[in-house]
Amino acid sequence: MSVVAWLTAPEITSPRQARAQRLYALWRAFRTNPMGLPSALVILALILAAAAAPLLARHDPYVQDLATRLRPPDRLHILGTDELGRDVFARLVFGARTSLAIAFLVAAIVGPVGLLIGTVAGYLGGWTDRVLMRLVDLFLAFPGLILALAFIAALGPGVDHAIMAVSLTAWPPIARLARAETLTIRKTDYIAAARLTGASWPRVVLRHIMPMCLPSVIVRLTLNMAGIVLTAAGLSFLGLGARPPAPEWGAMLSTGRQYLLGAWWLAAAPGLAIMMLSLAFNLLGDSLRDALDPRRG
């Protein structure tokens, strides 16, 4: 039996085949969106570039050479040099590490936290639900950037504080989504069956509800990654995230701003990189959502 036949066979013989078939159907739906695969490849390429930064960059991102400061792009420095003579391309590639690390760390924090709060609130209902959702409303009623800025004002600048501040503002939409999903799931028969077998509520939430919420949470998280990237870059741009001399896109933009009129490439390059990453997350999230949307079948 060929792999494709196994993946599309109407008679399913094992749980493994069922899972594989579901993934395969998802993959086929995903492929119908022309922007899905390219955007996934862009993100993958950026991850690989960040990982292989020392191989890609021909220059050290920290080494200064004041004799060659503010050079426009040429053969030796393909994106020019900055105000201290450092290679902009090298700093961009190494900066991808910081920017991607911030984005994925925030996602790794807010995904599970939002999922947990949302499912628990939705499953338990009552006062737990009311208190938790009031908290979600409070954070949602607030512009994310302002709140993140206020937190950093209290905690002090730095990458780790930026991650905390952005996380604090990014969990509520996830929690609200997970709660809405939970409300539709909790009345189903298989949850009733699980409860009849004597499963405790943490077990029902963890084993039976959370896995069902996961796909939509992942889609929302991917879409929100675009905003997370922008907020994190904005914090660094204001001098509250990554600090110099560490290469980070937002911080590079901020220095580029001082040399804007004489050396526009200093600000143009990191801004384009931020936009590319955020655009890729937006498009990937869109296509994942379309692929998972049962109405599109």
């Binding site: 009031r134 009623a141 209290a154 002090g156 204001l238 655009l279």
Partner: protein, 334 residues
């Protein structure tokens, strides 16, 4: 209707109270001892205790919070470190420029977003729709501060179509009396054409950049709302009756989405305040956003907390207004 409004007011009150609590917590998260920040490391035990008592820090947390809440509600935000003036006076000074910028930005957002959304819906799947989608994606994905910088390079440095950062050239500073606080309107009232043109050339770029994000949201939602209406049977009926397409579009379909659109516009307006923080930094715009970031960078917590609280309150009120508009204007909710 009355009961629903009362319930909503109650919910707004709870949110505002929670907002106070959140601001209070942020104010207490300082990694340094606030007393030491005032008296210094070398202060004697007596001075330390005295200042601690005077700042009310020896009281139970709940009482401290009660005092904080009372002060905030009455607008006693303390004084700002940079300006040395009461924060409330600073806020009164920095808000008009921001509101002017945001309103101008919103006008652009509506002026571009609504027609683009209508066109995208009418020509769904065609090239106009794709262009609207691409503009929308860029509006959502490009960092506003970067667009601002690139806008300055292109339209100010290279083309010379607009003027650089700031609200007005130094030469014109103080030429018109601040009557409304909105420079464009003040210049009009004073009949000062030079100032008007100069102010216009300063505001047009930051307002456009700020408006792009709003235009992206408004156009995407206009398209979605309108497509939903155009697919319904009453449209077919109206057309079958012999009404022209333009009449059906504007008098029937558009009238039905206008309430939803107003809600979206009110909420986007609130989000422009957030966008203003970064845009104002780029364009050296002497408004709320720049005041907020400057206070942040100098660690001026009185000003930071006041700004956070005020923006939060504006958001809550805007949300309430959007909800209210929906309830008052849409007969189906009655």
């Amino acid at each position: 209707m009355l009961a629903a409004t009362a319930r909503q007011l109650g919910s707004v009150a709870v949110t505002l109270f929670a907002l106070l609590a959140l601001t209070f917590v942020i104010g207490r998260m300082l990694p340094i001892d606030p007393v030491i920040a005032v008296v210094g490391e070398a202060a004697s035990r007596e001075t330390y205790d005295m200042v601690r008592t005077r700042m009310g820090l020896d009281q139970p947390v709940l009482i401290q919070f009660g005092r904080f809440a009372l002060d905030m509600v009455q607008g006693r935000f303390g004084s700002a470190i940079i300006t040395g003036r009461p924060v409330i006076d600073d806020l009164a000074r920095v808000f008009p420029p921001t509101i002017e910028l945001a309103t101008f930005g919103m006008a652009i957002g509506i002026g571009v977003g609504v027609p683009m959304g209508v066109l995208a819906a009418l020509y769904a799947g065609r090239w106009i729709d794709h262009i609207a989608r691409i503009i929308g994606l860029i509006g959502h994905s490009a960092p506003t501060f970067w667009l601002g910088l690139m806008g300055l390079v292109v339209f100010y440095a290279m083309l010379g179509w607009v003027d650089g950062p700031g609200r007005i050239d130094d030469a014109f500073e103080g030429d018109v009396d601040p009557v409304t606080g909105f420079l464009l309107i003040d210049a009009l009232l004073a009949g000062n054409g030079e100032v008007l043109v100069n102010a216009w050339r300063h505001i047009v770029l930051p307002a456009s950049i700020l408006g792009l994000g709003a235009a992206a949201t408004i156009s995407r939602l206009t398209r979605a709302f309108l497509l939903e209406q155009l697919g319904q049977e009453y449209i077919v009926t109206a057309r079958a009756k012999g009404l022209s397409f333009a009449r059906v579009l504007w008098r029937h379909a558009f009238a039905n989405i206008s309430v939803q659109l107003i809600t979206v516009i009110v909420l986007s307006y609130a989000f422009l305040l957030e966008g203003a923080v970064l845009t104002e930094t780029v364009f050296a715009w002497p408004g709320f956003g720049r005041y907020f970031t400057n206070s942040l960078l100098t660690g001026d917590m009185n000003a930071v907390l006041a700004c956070t609280l005020i923006v939060g309150a504006i958001f809550v009120v805007m949300n309430m207004l959007a909800d209210l508009a929906y309830r008052l204007l849409d007969p189906r909710t009655r």
